[in-house]
């Protein structure tokens, strides 16, 4: 329990839930969605509709009457396809029967991974800026999030020095995400090796959220589990939301050492039972036949990234080049505004929605997150408006 006066607590609600601040995105969402004509660079999901193949596979499954529960850990065929995919792309050998669980989005996988490994008071290192859920979900699992900041001086990569400084006797695990939401940073195999050394030295587990693994633009993604000595320490989290434009289907998965995965399946079984079958059927189709569609979407993100990096730099926002995911994280420090002031002014004056960097935790202040998962027309118009806004400051 941190920084909360027990005197003002609502006795009906748990102390844990009251200690968690409401999502910073929420406020902007409410503001932005109440306005008409907003160009949104605030979305964290693909602008593509799920390719027809996957939709068709799911419709056909429904027609054939696939409307039931599946095995708790997921359809055996889907787990086999996931295992083949991880082997093919990252040279990882997971046994589909014991080392893979299909979840309701990567979100559930993160949750049950933390619940499977944490005892009350255990610390988890959260590398920030990061996806907004990690720290709260650590708290919900009874753990204590300890944040380590990355910043533009290290291109938003985790440095071994900063990492090791935060490790204590109670540290159980570290959670991070590369390619990163919100910065678009990725880490190379070499850089991950240096992090791995610290992991071994302090005997930690790693939750590696690789949901953006397919969305890299300059080089192929290196999976953390493939780093020497890390296979048995890594819980690899991924899912179908981003690469296959399947956010609404709620299908994700975790792969890892059998003891951890079996523990996760226990929680999954008692709380969720299983992921929805229609989504699992679509996911099978995605892995079997959806790679070309995925490649086309990635190519389109790449073109937009190229455009946006140059366009934002040209109008005076210093921007670290994102190598993966579909976000960029330009610095707005030169304006003298806080990220919230900047984002709020931008939406009020020019109707462009971006997310203030401070909601992503330590290291995020002074930046805004812009998603380029939107059409070229919208991006061009957004750049025009941002320029006008900057000129007005």
């Amino acid at each position: 329990m941190n920084k909360i006066d027990t005197f003002i607590l609502n006795p009906r609600l748990s102390k844990t839930i009251q200690s968690i601040p409401p999502s910073g995105i929420r406020r902007f969402f409410d503001l932005a969605s109440s306005m008409a004509g907003v160009i949104s660079l605030g979305v964290g999901e693909p602008d593509f509709v799920t390719p027809w193949k996957m939709r068709e596979a799911s419709i056909s499954a429904l027609e054939r009457g696939y409307t039931t529960y599946t095995a708790n850990s997921g359809l055996p065929e889907l787990k086999k396809e996931i295992s083949k995919y991880l082997q093919r792309e990252f040279r990882l050998d997971y046994n589909p029967e014991k080392e893979i669980v299909v979840t309701v989005g990567a979100s559930e996988a993160i949750d049950i991974a933390l619940r499977a490994i944490l005892d009350p008071g255990d610390e988890v290192i959260v590398v920030e800026p990061s996806y907004v859920s990690y720290a709260p979900v650590v708290s919900l699992a009874g753990g204590i999030p300890v944040t380590v900041a990355t910043d533009k001086t290290s291109s938003f990569k985790l440095t071994p020095e900063a990492f090791e400084e935060k490790i204590s006797r109670r540290t159980k695990a570290v959670i991070f995400c590369y390619p990163n939401n919100p910065t678009g940073a990725i880490m190379t195999g070499k850089e991950l090796e240096r992090v791995a050394e610290i992991v071994v030295k302090h005997d930690l587990l790693v939750i590696s959220d690789e949901i953006y693994a397919e969305l890299t633009y300059d080089r192929k993604h290196d999976s953390f589990a493939a780093i020497k000595g890390m296979f048995d320490r890594t819980i690899l989290i991924s899912g179908f939301s981003k690469a296959f434009a399947m956010t609404g289907w709620r299908i994700g998965f975790a792969a890892g050492p059998p003891d951890v995965i079996q523990a996760m399946i226990k929680i999954h079984q008692y709380t969720i039972l299983c992921a929805p079958i229609m989504g699992q059927m679509a996911a099978i189709e995605a892995l079997k036949n959806g790679m070309r569609e995925k490649d086309e979407m990635v190519n389109s993100y790449r073109q937009r990234r190229n455009y946006m990096v140059k366009a934002l730099r040209e109008i005076g926002l210093s921007t670290h080049e994102p190598e993966g995911a579909f976000y960029m994280f330009p610095s707005i420090e030169s304006t003298g505004l806080t990220s919230e002031e900047f984002a709020e002014g931008l939406i009020m004056k020019e109707k462009v929605a971006v997310v203030p960097g401070n909601v992503f935790g330590q290291g995020g202040e002074g930046h805004i997150r812009c998603s380029y998962a939107t059409s070229m027309e919208q991006l061009q118009e957004a750049v025009k408006r941002i320029k006008r806004y900057l000129d007005s400051l």
Binding site: F28, F29, S40, E45, A311, A353, M376
Partner: protein
């Protein structure tokens, strides 16, 4: 420009021909001059034939634009085969496209007219009177659902929330 990039450029232009060279050069991460030069080359060599828009005429008020697809059977001529008659047909300005087909007929001719009468006149007076034309079967398009890769009846708008994780 290397082949892969040229294909990528063509795909972008096919999707949206209004993007300016400056933007194209940024999207492709190539120098502006190279992009301009390549586009010119592609135009000159007849790879880029035309920049056009796809119009949903059904949405235009008082529209009586109609499209007909005509199956044409012809007797091919010695030496020139079907090319000669195809050329005769495609030079008519009302003809939108001409394809040589395998199967039940030889040429597929798409024509656009402002009125039904114009189409009828074209078929009866110009097309069927051509020497090698044996028969024609005219089909009118009643409704366009999808044309050139664009779905007409359910343009999907952005259903996403304005801000999400």
């Amino acid at each position: 420009m290397e082949k892969g990039k040229i294909k990528e450029l063509l795909r972008i232009l096919e999707e949206n021909s209004r993007l300016e060279p400056q933007v194209l050069s940024e999207m492709l991460d190539l120098p502006l001059d190279e992009v301009k030069f390549t586009v010119e080359k592609l135009e000159q060599s007849g790879i880029i034939l035309k920049y056009s828009s796809i119009i949903n005429w059904d949405k235009v008020e008082e529209n009586d634009h109609i499209t007909a697809m005509i199956d044409v059977k012809v007797t091919p001529k010695r030496e020139v085969g079907f090319d000669d008659i195809a050329r005769r047909i495609y030079r008519f300005p009302e003809v939108k496209s001409v394809y040589l087909m395998s199967g039940a007929y030889d040429l597929s001719v798409v024509i656009e007219g402002v009125t039904m009468k114009e189409v009828a006149q074209f078929v009866s007076e110009k097309l069927s009177t051509l020497d090698s034309v044996i028969s024609t079967t005219t089909h009118f398009i009643l409704k366009k659902y999808k044309h050139d890769g664009v779905i007409f009846d359910d343009r999907e708008d952005d259903k996403r929330m304005v801000v999400t994780p």
